[in-house]
């Protein structure tokens, strides 16, 4: 067999070098090729060729390993990491050996027994991992090759948020947080308001605000407001409107006014004729509407004083009046802008939302109490809500810093499952916010406002009467 191959090889070689090999030389060639020397030479040539081929294969395999990506998923500071290295799965050529050298400062270790890279990274950054390998085409004792893979360790997103103090010398400065707790009838009101991370990150102000008070005749008022992010002095606007509505009911609504309202409520409750309902609606619109308009005018006055346009003080406004009667609680509310108000009854699984948020979904639809058209549009009357309820678990007012992360959409504000989740979260083991006897209940609520929700870092204000 060998001699036949040798013969063919030599014949081809001679022809390649221009030897004509006429017929009379064929016998000579056969004897020549059949010699032991030629046999050995041929075997040597074949061995060298094989070595060249193997070496070529080794070379392209090494180049292949070096050029093809061997993806190692990114890690995150503080998060447990586990990845099993599988070069074959990544489409790399067959390897007879591989391992991974990992810089200790990455916080990860490579375990050659099960090919895992694991640990809990401590520092953010890009770390070079040295992937050392020998392709299957290499000799067993061939030196190891190296490919450097970058391991990315992301920072903990929470650590990237800075908390810069707001400028306390600013004329409209207000504390970055605020809280209140007060008894209101047989219920307790707790309120907390906190500057959002997005504002804290840049040392900007809290644009949210709130106001609450016990009024004459057993009435209570609760207000929350969210100054528009785009308006320069909205932090002041939100305070002005909350104070305005509270003061309006303290100063402008007399005992006689309250008596009229109480009588109308009792009349509407005992004989629910359309006339009685109408009288009640008219009074609610009169009182709450005037309070809202007073807030609007106070924004105008502040703007005039500052010689700035009123829109610089743009703010939402949500407020309600509440009082306990023999038949239960009466609630009347007014709302401009986004956020949400609702009466939640856990036992009956019911929630009544008060008002409809002005959708910010489509640009230009957001409404602020600073806009004069609020009081002219026919939508004005839809801003009021009246509700009578025997009892409730909680009466809640929220700015959009709460409704966005907790309800996502306006439609979800009407779904009790979202309220159940909010309630469970508030009184869950982590927070225990809802202890009405605890003096620090509003502080607990303030702490709760730190809840983490990616992409939702607006100012947060929530008032809970429970």
């Amino acid at each position: 067999m060998m001699s036949k191959d040798t013969h063919k090889y030599i014949q081809a070689l001679l022809q390649q070098h221009g030897q004509s090999l006429p017929a009379q030389q064929q016998a000579l060639l056969a004897a020549f090729a059949n010699s032991e020397m030629m046999e050995q030479a041929y075997a040597e040539i074949i061995r060298i060729q094989q070595r060249i081929m193997e070496s070529w294969k080794e070379n392209i395999d090494i180049a292949d390993v070096k050029s093809k990506p061997l993806p190692v998923p990114n890690a995150q500071v503080g998060q447990p990491y586990l990845f099993t290295l599988d070069p074959a799965k990544a489409g790399l050529p067959a390897l007879s050996f591989f391992d991974l050298a990992v810089p200790p400062e990455s916080g990860l270790v490579y375990n050659a027994a099960d090919f895992t890279l694991s640990g809990k990274p401590l520092t953010a950054g890009t770390f070079p991992l040295s992937f050392r390998f020998r392709v299957a085409a290499s000799a067993e004792d061939a030196p190891l090759q190296e490919k450097v893979i970058s391991l990315l360790v992301n920072a903990d997103p929470k650590s990237l948020w800075k908390n810069l103090d707001s400028d306390t010398t600013d004329i409209y400065w207000k504390p970055d947080t605020d809280q209140a707790r007060l008894a209101m009838g047989d219920k307790t009101l707790i309120v907390a308001s906190k500057r959002g991370r997005s504002h804290a990150h840049e040392g900007r102000f809290r644009d949210d605000d709130f106001g609450a008070a016990n009024l004459a005749g057993g009435w209570g008022i609760i207000a929350v407001a969210d100054g528009a992010g785009s308006a320069k002095f909205s932090r002041r606007g939100s305070k002005i409107v909350c104070d305005a509505v509270v003061n309006f009911f303290k100063e402008k609504i007399t005992n006689a006014h309250w008596a009229d309202l109480d009588n109308a409520i009792v009349a509407a409750q005992t004989s629910a004729t359309p006339d009685h309902q109408k009288t009640l609606s008219r009074l609610v619109i009169d009182y709450l509407g005037k309070a809202a308009y007073d807030a609007h005018q106070q924004l105008n006055a502040a703007a005039a004083e500052k010689e700035a346009p009123t829109r610089d003080f743009a703010t939402t406004l949500l407020f309600l009046l509440v009082k306990k009667f023999d038949f239960g609680y009466f609630v009347a509310s007014f709302m401009v802008g986004d956020g949400g108000m609702g009466i939640y009854s856990k036992d009956t699984g019911q929630v009544f939302t008060l008002g409809t948020p002005d959708g910010g979904e489509f640009a230009g639809q957001t409404r602020f109490v600073s806009m004069p058209e609020i009081f002219k549009d026919e939508s004005f009357y839809r801003r009021f809500s009246i509700r009578t309820i025997p009892d409730f678990t909680a009466l809640v007012l929220m700015t959009d810093g709460i409704t966005d992360p907790k309800f996502q959409t306006d439609a979800n504000l009407t779904k009790v499952e979202y309220w159940n989740a909010l309630w469970d979260d508030l009184q869950g083991p982590e927070h225990r916010v809802l202890d009405r006897n605890a003096a620090q209940a509003s502080q607990a609520l303030l702490d709760w406002l730190d809840f983490w929700s990616p992409g939702n870092h607006d100012d947060r204000t929530i008032a809970i009467l429970f």
Binding site: N154, L160, G196, E361, P454, N456, D458
Partner: protein, 212 residues
């Protein structure tokens, strides 16, 4: 969570070979690592990379910044801009979620297109399909003087040009893209508003010229 989708459409035609393509790779690297330092962007921005030469490919589907890995980018072939625009429209339709009464959808995607030459395919049908997609700000960048800004103007009002496609200039463009994405995610997170025009983006660096 409402994501801020960012689509990068990168020309990888043969003319990009060498310094320009290396600059683009480096630019994407800078873009990603800068955005990772920005807490607004890190939480909301999702990036997709679409490259186009003789055809278009989505090298990276819409991916959050934390898990994003730079894809392998190689240059060679023609300039299938129309194909790239179609693929982008299809990717947006598939990947960007729409708002329903129960769920707030993603924010409108930001699209950054960079090309250094004239399209070699039927670009106008691509433009038509792309215009149907619901996008936020679309920035088209002509890198070097071979690109046809009049074609880019038919894709978007916001067209910028780079005098040369060298590494410093391309890097400057990507830094501006990064600042623009940061601004976009910041506006969303602090005010719930989207950027709607060039005037709301950070001013471009001197290397990036606005084409009027």
């Amino acid at each position: 969570m409402r994501r801020l989708p960012v689509y990068l459409l990168l020309d990888t035609s043969g003319s990009m070979t060498g310094e320009p393509i290396e600059a683009v790779k480096n630019g994407v690297q800078v873009l990603i690592s800068t955005l990772r330092q920005d807490p607004y962007a890190l939480e909301t921005a999702f990036i997709s990379v679409i490259t186009f030469d003789s055809s278009a490919r989505q090298l990276t589907p819409l991916t959050d910044l934390t898990t994003f890995q730079i894809p392998q980018i190689n240059a060679g072939g023609g300039t299938a801009l129309g194909d790239a625009l179609k693929l982008t429209a299809q990717s947006i339709a598939r990947e960007v979620s729409k708002s329903t009464p129960d769920v707030k959808g993603d924010w409108k995607p930001l699209v950054f297109l960079m090309t250094d030459g004239r399209p070699t395919d039927d670009w106008s049908s691509g433009v038509t399909e792309f215009k149907q997609a619901k996008t936020g700000i679309v920035v088209a960048c002509a890198a070097g003087n071979q690109a046809d800004t009049s074609i880019l103007k038919q894709i978007t009002d916001i067209v910028v040009s780079l005098d040369t496609a060298d590494s410093a200039t391309i890097k400057a463009f990507f830094k501006w893209v990064s600042a623009s994405v940061s601004t976009g995610s910041q506006k969303i997170e602090s005010g719930g508003k989207e950027v709607t025009g060039l005037n709301e983006l950070p001013p471009p660096p001197p290397e990036v010229n606005i084409v009027v």
